[in-house]
Amino acid sequence: MKKKANGFISATKIAQRSFCEKQLVLDEQYGRHETDIQRQRRERGDEEHLRHHLEAQRYGSSRDSRCFIATELYGPVAKETEQLRLFRDRYLQRSYLGRIFTSAYYKLSPTVVRLMQRYPLVRKIIKPIINWIVKKVSING
């Protein structure tokens, strides 16, 4: 995770100064040392970081309804995405069933997007379906 950055000072180093300036300078002169206990603690901390990083990515967020399948497939400003947006605003939002469909779509689309990002096969299955929907919507629109 650490990257080389010439002339840059890391946040950890700046923070270490407020703990002990002497140790900061000695680390620079002799290299960073750690006792066995400190090494064990660091390893425990690294494991905990990795575990939480994976869990937070999976379950740490409430749903973001701004994630659209079309945006993932075509991009946020693509013609296809724009056509689907128009269809939503002109037709779906004007009827009760349409609004139910839209809210269900908002609810489910982040899961679909995540699956598409993780498994290319899902993307391959979904793309022709969305292409077909875009085609139908364009004819109707």
């Binding site: 300078v25 006792t35 990083h53």
Partner: protein
């Protein structure tokens, strides 16, 4: 014919997604219960996790943030994990996260002036909310660190004797009044 085929696939897909979604919601509920996460964060959106950031202005600083959330107010809040024996947040933790905050502000992110420290102890997990340093204070911290690294200032001793007891640099340290060797 093709239309019926696609409609059938769409229906199947929706049904299976409802199943996946219900399973995920249950797992997320368990995760929040275990984490005892503040409502502000659990209702927010995770934007970045274990993400490397850097800036050249106001100073050349870099680091890897643990988590960045966007809360309902639209502001961004940092979360930093610490594995400790006790539920404690030290000044060095606040300085570290303040540096991340300034880097993010400089890259155009709307940041809150506080952060959460997720302290993991054998007793469990607790989130501690702390106000962070402002930009001027972070610049002062940076300048002092740079001066010390360049050897242009004399470093001060640790504030407490206890801090020296576990210091791995004892062998190189000339502050005998603090070192464990002096006592023995």
């Amino acid at each position: 014919m093709a239309e019926a085929y696609y409609l059938a696939i769409v229906c199947l897909l929706i049904l299976s997604l409802y199943g996946i979604d219900a399973r995920r919601r249950e797992k997320r509920r368990k995760f929040i219960l275990k984490e005892r996460m503040p409502a502000e964060l659990s209702e927010g959106q995770l934007i970045r996790s274990e993400h490397y950031i850097r800036t050249e202005v106001p100073r050349k600083m870099h680091g890897t943030l643990d988590q960045l959330y966007r809360v309902l107010s639209g502001l961004h809040v940092l979360v930093d994990s610490k594995t400790r024996d006790k539920h404690q947040v030290f000044m060095k933790d606040i300085v570290q996260v303040s540096v991340y905050r300034i880097i993010l502000i400089r890259t155009g992110v709307r940041m809150a002036d506080y952060a959460y420290f997720r302290v993991v102890t054998p007793d469990g997990i607790e989130y501690h909310k702390r106000t962070l340093l402002d930009e001027a204070q972070v610049i002062d911290e940076f300048d002092r660190t740079q001066t010390l690294i360049n050897g242009k200032a004399t470093p001060s001793n640790a504030q407490h004797k206890a801090m020296c007891m576990s210091c791995p640099q004892q062998i190189n340290c000339d502050d005998w009044q603090f070192s464990g060797r002096h006592q023995s």
